[in-house]
Symmetry: C2
Subunit: 429 residues, 2 copies
């Protein structure tokens, strides 16, 4: 890669050395017992509580720099760590201790005709790289989920959170080391800036999996640039189709919940498709409720004609269909039936979550079979595509790709398998 060739040799050497050390730590972790990993997690939770003041002080420096550089209030809020938030992070680390450790699970076991005993056993992935934006809680989140599943991490957070992340990583490393595990279980490369991230994306000999967490632009950059295998997470251009048979109450409840319950996350609704035969029945109430909730609606005149007279509906453009608003905005389109709904979704879906609201069994079946997404729902809020809701206990992210993990990723998705063949001298004839 030409891009890599222009990077300062010191950065290449520094990040490569860190990745190599992480690989060595991962060999140690691969044979560490669950008890040993849980002790390290407990030490991390306690260290976060003990050193709350240090973390807040480092975070204050980041907040001050962010304020000075004109960072928006919502970004400053994501960047901020106060004592309450740190206590919540420490609690979440303890919650991970209670999760079952997937390492060592036997996925498949059989005795072959030649008496070789064959088992497919779950093992850690090895070294997990993460590239993310200015939410310092992600640093602890990924480090501890990776540790529980026996993996070492190399973390690249946003430069805006560099002081906080450096402090957090230092605290985590000391806590881990105090229990006898290698400090190199958790590693930061923020000091190497963007070029460091580039080296990480090419460290195929040492990094087994790279997880980008953030907006579509960050994820797309990593997908384009990385030669380390990547799991894409989190871009959700989520649709709901209200079929002609949907009841008003269900349609209204599901649209309002899907759009407004937590609009900033990837499983919130972005485009609503309404069967033209249901429009007069369901849309006036839906538009009224969206208006009350402060949702900006983008639609054509066939939709705006059904809006309360006081409501301002914005003219929809082609770009809206492709847009993940991640806020109190929605695009609405009338469709002639399920075929047009499916065609629209196929054209614009990001493969995250797609839902149909219907009373018709055939249409429910058709929708579920035809839509190619991580999660497809019938008569449910789009907000249910979530590791916690699915019963995973913890969530690393929501994969929108088809390889390895699709949908909410729990600890199991941070592992791979190893085939073990036990014999007594069998040869192949």
């Amino acid at each position: 890669m030409s891009a890599a060739a222009e990077i300062h040799p010191k950065t290449v050497r520094g990040v490569t050395r860190i990745a190599r050390n992480a690989k060595a730590a991962s060999s140690f972790l691969a044979t560490t017992s669950t008890t040993g990993k849980d002790a390290a997690l407990q030490a991390i939770a306690e260290a976060l509580r003990t050193h709350t003041d240090r973390i807040v002080k480092a975070n204050d420096a980041d907040i001050a720099a962010g304020t000075e550089s004109g960072m928006s209030d919502s970004l400053l809020d994501r960047l901020r760590l106060d004592a309450d938030r740190i206590a919540a992070i420490a609690d979440s680390v303890e919650a991970v201790i209670d999760l079952p450790d997937p390492v060592g699970d036997v996925v498949l076991g059989r005795t072959l005709p030649n008496s070789i005993r064959l088992t497919q056993t779950r093992v850690p992935m090895g070294v997990i790289g993460a590239i993310y934006e200015a939410r310092p809680n992600v640093t602890v989140d990924i480090a501890v989920l990776a540790l529980k599943s026996g993996n070492a991490t190399v973390l690249r957070g946003g430069s805006a959170a560099q002081n906080t992340n450096t402090e957090l990583i230092s605290i985590l490393r000391s806590a881990i080391e105090s229990t006898g595990l290698p400090a190199d279980t958790v590693n930061g490369i923020d000091q190497y800036g963007r070029e460091g991230a580039n080296v990480l994306m090419h460290a195929r000999d040492f990094v087994d999996l790279l997880i980008p967490r953030g907006g579509a632009e960050l994820i797309n950059m990593v997908v384009q640039e990385s030669i380390v295998p990547v799991i894409e997470t989190g871009v959700g251009n989520v649709h709901m189709f209200i079929d002609s048979t949907a009841t008003v109450k269900t349609a209204v409840d599901l649209v309002v919940n899907s759009k407004t319950q937590r609009p900033s996350v990837c499983n919130s609704l972005e485009t609503l498709l309404v069967h033209e035969k249901a429009a007069k029945r369901v849309l006036p109430k839906i538009l009224e409720r969206l208006d009350q909730a402060g949702v900006i609606v983008h639609a054509d005149s066939d939709v705006s004609a059904l809006a309360p007279s006081s409501m301002k509906v914005r003219r929809v453009s082609r770009r809206d269909w492709a847009k993940e608003y991640l806020g109190l905005e929605i695009a609405i389109k009338l469709v002639s039936g399920i075929e047009e709904a499916i065609d629209h979704i196929r054209a614009y879906s990001s493969g995250h979550t797609e839902v149909i609201v219907t009373k018709d069994l055939d249409n429910a079946d058709t929708f579920v079979a035809a839509i190619d997404a991580a999660a497809v729902g019938v008569n449910v809020s789009t907000r249910f595509t979530d590791g916690g809701e699915f019963g995973f206990g913890a969530e690393v992210g929501i994969s929108t790709q088809k390889l390895h993990a699709r949908g909410p990723m729990g600890l199991e998705q941070l592992t791979t398998t190893k085939w073990v063949m036990m014999g007594n001298g069998q040869i192949r004839s």
Copy 2:
């Protein structure tokens, strides 16, 4: 990618159109029943038999061109399709009919506390791209395994097999279409040459998975260049460690079988590590048998001193440790114990298959736990890492990566999953 930008627009348009058509066909295949897919496979088997003469004629042209350009005998042999080989391919297509279809299998099903019925269901991957070298049987092989698992394919074979592949793909498309499935289920892009392969590697909107099949150079090129997710297959720098407690008979049998039973394949043995305390006991016999089998041995004088006087042992160099000979050659090294054996394997393993020969339970456990490879064996030939031996029925390749599939890949590894949420109006609170 600058490389892609220099490609002729006609190639970009042509390959993109083919990939888009394959995507459309994959939507059709995703909802095609097993019966429907099996009928297409039966039609393919019959068409291959009916049109044997056409295939042989096209293959003759490739063979003639290969002979003229000075292709080696072994490459010509891999390129050749005669009536017997075509009959064997047709039989293998019928064998795929008998395999269970993984699509629709429910991987996980549960009812959530809010009564949403959640199922994780196996679905086809979508469009599978394959880039391979001059073995035209791979064309049929990948096309039919992908079809059985509900996937469309875009195939790029070697230019040396272009006439044969074009004929095969034409026959497959007609046979598939005759049963009512889309001809675009199987697509070739050989007419666009290497630049076509480059466009395929960037067709992320249409291609879900890319499988390179061939030598290390081809695989490495695809890994470096592709932004479509790749599964690496087949590079096997395979080791066997003879521990101090190994019996002579078992050690000799396993080494000879692992090295000589089929030396050209990825699961054959490349480097033998021998505990220095076992060397005098096991090596004379091993070296004698390897010599009889015509195996060239690369080793230091500590090994060659134990060889039959008539045997010529070549001086081993550092490069031999990293080399996949894929022929009747082997590197041999004495090690001080299991730790040195593990260190050597960690340094040079390609993550395919690693075997220990021992009577010691602790060492067996240590080896299995410490070695990071798709398959780890105790007292077995390395040749058992194979989809057929593992009971998969068919094998797409042997993955040496950790993401999605590790070890032999069967039909299941050509699928992904979809989460289906069935409810009756549930919202999230």
